[in-house]
């Protein structure tokens, strides 16, 4: 790790590296954002708001494949971290790009789903269920895209030989994005409570 920036960045009074600590706090704030959205959705659903029966129109198969894709991408990002721990930059670079690739597959399937729904007239303003569907999956997709961009930047950084610790940090973030999907998938595709 290169010694750049102020001394403050390199102190560890808690024993946790600063970057990791900050990512955990970032995710804490994200939990409240997604948590608020999910809570609103659940409250409307429990209230029997008309339109929520449209949940049966979502494609469970597409959602399930996407879950599988995201879970696999979490594996590859872990492998990238393991590789960089060994100092194997090439291997880590490769696994980071596998992860980005899975991100593209995820977004592709998402696009296919969106297109199908919109063709059948299920647009965001149709009813509250579809409003939530597009808002929640859209916000999640933005997080996926953000993660992919950051991963691409990190992959070239480590090739140049610095900021190795960031592979772990983006991995933590990527797991969070994965975890959010684990909540969204049953809520939007499967649940019928």
């Amino acid at each position: 790790m290169s010694m750049q920036g102020p001394i403050a960045t390199h102190r560890q009074a808690t024993g946790i590296p600063t970057g990791r600590l900050a990512v955990w706090w970032l995710l804490a704030s994200e939990i409240f954002i997604f948590g608020g959205l999910v809570l609103c959705f659940v409250l409307f659903k429990l209230n029997g708001t008309p339109g929520f029966e449209d949940a049966s129109l979502t494609s469970v198969a597409a959602g399930a494949i996407n879950t599988f894709v995201l879970l696999t991408s979490s594996l590859t990002v872990v492998l990238a971290h393991a590789a960089i721990e060994e100092g194997n930059v090439e291997k880590s670079f490769k696994y980071i790009w596998y992860t980005v690739g899975f991100g593209f597959v995820f977004l592709g399937i998402k696009t296919y789903e969106y297109t199908g729904k919109i063709i059948h007239g299920h647009i965001i303003t149709e009813n509250l269920f579809w409003s939530f569907y597009y808002t929640m999956t859209g916000l999640h997709a933005l997080h996926v895209i953000g993660g992919m961009i950051i991963m691409a930047i990190i992959s070239f950084d480590i090739k140049k030989g610095y900021n190795f610790q960031r592979v772990e940090l983006i991995g933590i973030y990527w797991h969070f994005v994965d975890l959010v999907w684990i909540f969204l998938f049953p809520l939007l595709y499967i649940a019928n409570f």
Binding site: P6, I7, L21, W25, S29, F34, G51, T125
Partner: protein, 570 residues
């Protein structure tokens, strides 16, 4: 890493930054002190705008339909816009940037003894997002239809349907500005928390951290945990406005009450988000000027934890007449009254700190004591409003306005002046003029009470808030009530005029004041151990800490203070 290598790297580090151009030193700085000042000055400019708005609509209330000097005629729509944006600006663009981001940035690294925030570039970015949010808000005043006028709480459907609010773009830009501001503070907050957790000077244990730093960090955590759902809500409201969804519109299956819950789930902790930094700053000020150890450091800290925890379960006391279940209202009455216990305990600790101290009535101390006195009235009247039976009558009346301003004025304005006058010597290397400082204090504090005490009476008389012209209502047009309105407005004008004393004192002292020594107040915390103003990189050799920050008048010592970094005698 040993202390020696740290110090060597430190020196190299500051040499490296010696020749910064003006652009990188003041416009795009990485130094936490300059970023802090950027926040403070932006906040002060916004405070001028917010105060100007208050002047315009108070004049309209006192002299309805007459041309307001320096403003012009205030129309009904414009009145709504002024009231709404006065509230929004004072909370989101004055209280938060000055107290949390501004002073947080300035004092956290200095008080915990390190050279900068852990993420300087993130710090700069959060200021830039904040600046953008302020510009978007100002832009919203000038779009077609004018600025948003649906109150700072932005209840839908008024805020979500352009045909109702008549401010199509004003509402959306207002919402965008608020959302950007939230993002800026989330980023800044992560920086604050991480810095305080990880970068404290060697030897500084949890219970050696000055209360001011503790409280800013607790406030940031409260903000982070409460604002998330409102960010989600803001996205939903924005889509209601621009795409035509109906999250908050009953006509499309949505629920306007949901917004109120999301808003107040944030809105009530927000009160404590801005209160705690001021409380912390005042704790540091009163110990220094009473020359006494803070009474019950741990108690003060734990009461802040209790307040923070309870602040998440009191939000519905803003909604007693909004149609919530009366049984639920009872629960919120209990939690609301409960939250006054830790806060009262904190107050008692402060008063106990003053008891028996050798109090020096310097300008910062006057502001500190003024805060305690004024906030006490704000806190006590809050207990009235927390009881649902009384709140049903008082709701949306001027009693609420008076109560609110007796909490937020001390927090924001008095707290800001306390902090500014206390750290001014450190920030600019000059002393402020004490006589002018005291004139400014009394010229603000007395008119403040003359302004808001009559509003309690008007509220008791049944005067509703957000009304353009009370003379249209026979019950409220009575002469004795109108006299109170005129008196309140005149007090505001007097108070605003006295601010020119401060502006004069501030700028003249900044350039021509008496040179400040390192430690003009003889205080203990680390920022006073270095030159005023501190150089880039703050400490020549990074300090170690041997004791807590409040060791004043320790028996058996020659001087009555004991700096945190002074090594104990062998």
């Amino acid at each position: 890493m040993s202390q020696a290598t740290t110090a060597v790297q430190k020196e190299q580090h500051s040499e490296h930054h010696q020749e910064l151009s003006f652009l990188y030193k003041y416009i795009l700085p990485l130094d936490h002190k300059i970023i802090g000042m950027q926040y403070i000055f932006t906040g002060l400019i916004m405070a001028v705008i917010g105060g100007y708005f208050a002047y315009a609509f108070r004049m309209q209330l006192a002299f309805p339909g007459e041309i307001v000097p320096l403003y012009g005629l205030v129309g009904p729509g414009e009145y709504n816009m002024l009231v709404t944006n006065h509230g929004t600006i004072m909370i989101f663009w004055v209280a938060m940037p000055v107290l949390i981001a501004g002073f947080g940035n300035y004092i956290i690294p200095l008080m915990i003894g390190c050279d900068d925030m852990v993420f300087p570039r993130l710090n700069r970015l959060s200021y830039q997002i904040f600046l953008a949010s302020a510009l978007v808000l100002i832009l919203s005043f000038f779009v077609k239809g004018g600025g948003f006028g649906g109150a700072w709480t932005a209840y839908p459907p008024l805020s979500s349907v352009a045909e109702y609010s008549l401010t199509d773009w004003g509402s959306s830009l207002w919402l965008l500005a608020v959302a950007l501001e939230f993002v800026s503070f989330l980023l800044g907050g992560i920086n604050f928390i991480t810095t305080t957790m990880n970068s404290r000077a060697p030897g500084m244990k949890m219970m050696d951290i000055p209360i001011a730093v503790w409280f800013i960090v607790i406030a940031v955590i409260l903000f982070m945990a409460s604002v998330g759902p409102l960010i989600a809500g803001a996205v939903m409201l924005f889509m209601d406005q621009r795409i035509g969804t109906s999250f908050f519109l009953p006509s499309g299956g949505g629920d306007p009450l949901l917004w109120q819950h999301l808003f107040w789930f944030f809105g009530h902790p927000e009160v404590y988000v801005v209160l705690l930094p001021t409380m912390g700053i005042v704790a540091d000020i009163i110990t220094v000027f009473a020359r006494k150890k803070l009474f019950g450091y741990r108690t003060v800290l734990y009461t802040a934890f209790a307040t923070g925890g309870l602040s998440f379960v009191v939000w519905a006391h803003h909604q007693f007449i909004a149609g919530i279940d009366p049984r639920m209202a009872n629960v919120f009455v209990v939690t609301t009254v409960l939250i006054s216990i830790p806060l009262a305990e904190m107050m008692f600790c402060y008063i106990a700190t003053l008891y028996g101290g050798s109090i020096q009535f310097t300008t910062p101390m006057l502001w500190g004591l003024g805060f305690l006195a004024a906030f006490l009235i704000g806190g006590v009247t809050g207990i009235y409003l927390g009881a649902s039976a009384i709140d049903v009558y008082f709701h949306d009346s001027y009693f609420v306005i008076a109560h609110f301003h007796y909490t937020f004025f001390p927090i924001t304005i008095i707290g800001m002046f306390a902090a500014l006058t206390y750290w001014f010597p450190k920030m600019f290397g000059r002393m402020m003029n004490e006589t002018l400082g005291k004139i400014h204090f009394w010229g603000t504090f007395i008119p403040f009470n003359c302004l808001f005490l009559p509003l309690f009476l008007l509220g008791l008389a049944g005067q509703n808030r957000r009304v353009y012209n009370f003379l249209n209502y026979p019950d409220l047009a009575r002469q004795e009530l109108h006299d109170l309105r005129v008196f309140a407005t005149m007090s505001l004008v007097v108070m605003l005029l006295f601010q020119f004393v401060f502006i004069y004192n501030f700028f003249v002292s900044m350039f021509f004041g008496k040179k400040a020594p390192n430690n003009p107040w003889e205080a203990n915390s680390l920022e006073w151990s270095i030159p005023s103003p501190p150089p880039h990189g703050n400490f020549k050799t990074l300090p170690s800490v041997y004791r807590g920050p409040y060791e004043y008048s320790v028996p058996g010592r020659e001087s009555d203070y004991w700096p945190q970094n002074e090594p104990p005698k062998k």
